[in-house]
Symmetry: C2
Subunit: 587 residues, 2 copies
């Protein structure tokens, strides 16, 4: 079909273009017949423009326009007019003008779409995912992808300026299922063997440092075959970075520079650098989370000392066993009713608490169900230590260190939400540092790596690897934005002996280590530089930058939580012949 | 280990830095003991610098340096000195200076590497692939990756400037094995179902056009499970581009702009745009290839008319059956001996020829074994038509159209190489256009798509889809550089009815089409714009830009022709438990 090509996009005509003869191409956003004169709005990625078909100018053309329906694709030519004063639409960048149609070509007729292409769409997410190409026509989603586009360019320009080299690492790699589950790819050529899709390019980027590439980055797809939570996808994008001859400070500095640019160039916001830092221990003991949302306080106070010798056996026992009694002040919540407090207690129990102790600070005293056990004096000392004011509610949890603080962390977020303390205009970026090297897995009866097996212990904790590995801290760090972990990394081990030792501590025996990571240990024989790096969750940062609540809104063709694409119904069945060639069969 | 961090890279110190106290980090490139004074060269990605250890300055330091070996990783501090006039090394950017060592830390001791890290490496490719991280330390390879890095940045900047939007498409997609073999990924969650890795994001990029994204690009990994030829990899990188409301001219213009930038920014060469264009028919009939190397002529001449009524039955029969007799002039090759000509004939036969007819142009006549059949007069008329000169050799092939020209094309390249006509300083870029829509597959007894099933026929050939599909031409185009296809694309079908018709012609029945491409046909119901695009072979362009002969030299971690990674020995065996979770077993 021959048609007039566009001279302008649907977003660019202004009053100064009046008198020009132009051609626009795009989709019919809507069509309206107002007493014989037909108005249509044409839409493309760049905006919307109104076109007028007057039957008195050209009745044949007017008749053609009468047949237009939403989402038809057209090419329309005509003359740009300034709208009369009263008709100017200030909500539309092209609202000063309209176009008197002179020629119309219908490029494609559209069927009635399953839902209207507008930002106040009310179709279910299922339907929108099935017709993703229609959902993606919505200006709000198109804006998200323009922001994502911008983030790609900012990232690459930034690292390029800093002399980083962009290198692609393989997607078909070796299966080393130490962390999450690998996606596997059967080999046709090598009978019974498989590739794996990368959970991250971790080993490759370390090998690039061994190869002397010095500073590497890549925006790269990674894959995890996990049962998906709402904010996870089986394939996701990360900004992957590695640097040689560096320590933590170098990584922090380079990373902060990128975040500063994101905020400046995308949102026009100046974020302060350097970012605050909290050790893992501080983060847990203050906010009950290794990704604390510091947009609001509600910080914790440890009151173990005050209650350890009190008559309240629950508290005393916990402290005796090495646990912690701690809590925080919910400001002006003393008016909570008994049933509200019961619901809060139930919530704490669902989070794993044995119970929740509350104290109300009244004008002249404190009120608490444990007063009869612990005595007023101790209650007042708690109130004083926690600097609670009249009308405040104090919430206390007693349990093992991790459990007490984790439950408090969840309660803190809950109270923060109830009190509307999560200020969306704030952008609190901070580093959490000094993570433990290992945590003990009760199921597997062995240590597992908190970060990953390639993370270096802190130099001053090297001795602890022999005496008490659980106390050893790692040279690992996470970057947190408003309670979301958006990047994480570490200084790596670059010494073969230390790496072997860490594998042993993780219960990876020598044979297994050699089979899975032999090539990395081998590489370390030939001169590995000290190195470290970081990986950013690109999808999540994009979600936060665009103010969306789901990463599906910033991924062009996302999958559902059961890892399905509703649009093309993948995964799907394949031919027997394909499986036969791969030497596999379905059981 | 604590060490001095670098103040400079190994490539940046100059005479103007003399007197500075600096620290370098890097690898020991070599160590030499010259009468007590030890010279070492430190290497990093940025260059090499010489460091001097004089026993009279610091005997302990000197002793430490005596223990250094190639590929040890060090941090070395000292004072920059201007070298005396006679000692300046003009081959080294840092050759004006050296450093008097004051402090040395050995960061990692290296074992003796399996091969020396130098550009005149003489290890086998197998060994170099096994120790890829060592091979990658070679300055020549590092340079390739810096060029590749530059190509990424140029590409994205270019498309960004032109308002293209970068969008990532899924790697886990639906299997639609119409072209090459898919790599499959078994689904754990959906029993008996599989994802496929994309052979290209073709359907996604078309859906992005339906989604109104208007101009899309992506540098993206693609996958083909094929038996590999030397210049193929199971995973490869392409620049993927799609545009709405365009025709061929728009694609040519945008593509030529990128190629111009590549040549200008990487090689400092101004290539002329627009590029020459040849139709497929012209390319085949002139050069015997749809990716002609036009750096040299040796063009073909069709002599069918001259020989169709001659007494040489072989020629006459071929012409009668609709075949072609054609050939080219090999300049100044009349001195080929009988055995040389026999070898050439054998070569032609290996290429599938029934035989090879040669003619030598002598001072006063022509010589040919077919003279006794065809007569001198016809030979002379051939010589005249082909404008052959004294001393030239004429080579003639007679067969079906395609076969004649393909064999001639191969012979032409062979002769071109022998005559040293492939001038590496030339950069001949050209478009080949008007490819046929279909070719008939004798094995499958059906038409297959020459480009792919989504390619639009030329508007003027629409009628041929009914009358003679084999004659229909496609709106498809390839970009060729010095005989290499470096990009290819087409204007797509955007009409559901036409797309269904093409599927039918390709023997894809309605049910099958619906199962495999139903979502695309469905999308076309809701307003698809006219659109088209192109995909560039990034690895191959990079290979040509760096002057390498193998794409393995521009891929960080390449696989062998049997799709293996020699470094980590993937693909590899996996645990039974992993397969069990995926509901598959090896047969």
């Amino acid at each position: 079909m021959r048609y007039n090509k566009r001279t302008h996009t649907c977003g660019e005509l202004r009053a100064s273009d009046a008198g020009k003869h132009v051609t626009l191409t795009g989709w019919v956003d809507f069509q309206r017949d107002l007493g014989g004169v037909i108005f249509i709005v044409v839409r493309d990625r760049y905006g919307k423009t109104q076109v007028v078909f007057n039957p008195q100018n050209n009745s044949q053309l007017h008749q053609q326009a009468a047949g237009l329906r939403s989402e038809d694709v057209i090419s329309v030519s005509g003359k740009v007019n300034n709208r009369p004063d009263g008709m100017i639409n200030p909500n539309m960048p092209t609202g000063e003008i309209d176009i008197t149609a002179e020629e119309l070509t219908i490029l494609t007729k559209a069927d009635v779409p399953p839902f209207a292409v507008t930002d106040d769409v009310n179709a279910s997410e299922e339907l929108r995912l099935q017709y993703r190409y229609l959902d993606l026509r919505r200006p709000a989603l198109q804006k998200n992808f323009l922001t994502r586009h911008q983030m790609y360019q900012i990232t690459r320009k930034y690292y390029d300026e800093l002399n980083f080299i962009e290198i692609e690492t393989p997607i078909l790699m070796k299966s080393t299922p130490e962390g999450a589950r690998d996606y596997l790819v059967p080999s046709r050529v090598h009978h019974g063997k498989f590739y794996a899709l990368p959970q991250s390019p971790q080993t490759y980027k370390q090998l690039l440092m061994v190869a002397g590439m010095d500073r590497y980055f890549q925006i790269v797809k990674c894959f995890r075959d996990e049962d998906l939570r709402a904010d996870r996808q089986p394939e996701f994008t990360q900004i992957d970075v590695e640097m040689s001859f560096v320590d933590e400070e170098d990584i922090y500095q380079v990373t902060e520079g990128l975040m500063k640019r994101f905020f400046k160039e995308i949102k026009g916001i100046d974020v302060q650098i350097p970012f605050p830092r909290l050790t893992y221990k501080e983060a847990i003991e203050t906010y009950g989370s290794d990704k604390p949302d510091t947009r609001f306080d509600l910080k914790f106070t440890n009151v173990s000392e005050l209650v350890q010798d009190s008559g309240f056996k629950v508290f005393a026992d916990v402290v005796k066993k090495g646990g912690v009694v701690a809590g925080f002040v919910a400001p002006q919540c003393a008016n909570y009713s008994r049933s509200q407090l019961d619901l809060l207690t139930d919530l704490a129990k669902k989070m794993g608490a044995g119970g929740l102790v509350w104290m109300k600070v009244t004008a002249d005293s404190v009120e608490s169900p444990i007063e009869k056990f612990i005595g007023k004096e101790v209650l007042l000392s708690i109130k004083n230590k926690m600097q609670a004011n009249v009308g405040d509610l104090i919430l206390l949890i007693s349990d093992y260190w991790m459990k007490t603080y984790t439950i408090l962390g969840n309660l803190r977020l809950e109270i923060g939400k109830r009190l509307n303390l999560l200020d969306d205009s704030k952008n609190n970026l901070l580093w959490v540092t000094d993570f433990p090297m290992f945590e003990y897995d009760e199921n597997e009866k062995r240590y597992i790596a908190v970060h990953h097996p390639f993370t270096s212990p802190k130099l001053e904790d090297l001795g602890l690897l022999d005496s008490d590995p659980s106390k050893a801290r790692a040279r690992a760090y996470d970057l947190v934005l408003n309670g979301n972990e958006i990047a994480g990394g570490s200084i790596r081990i670059h010494d073969r002996t230390l790496q072997s030792k860490v594998f042993t501590l993780l219960g990876i025996d020598e044979e297994h280590a050699k089979k899975k990571f032999g090539f990395l240990l081998e590489a370390f024989r030939f001169g590995a530089p000290p190195h470290g790096g970081i990986a950013y969750g690109f999808d999540r940062i994009c979600m936060l930058m665009t103010g969306e609540k789901s990463i599906r809104d910033v991924i062009a063709f996302p999958k559902t939580t059961s890892a399905m694409s509703l649009m093309d119904e993948s995964p799907s069945e394949v031919d027997e012949a394909q499986l036969k060639e791969l030497h596999i069969k379905i059981v």
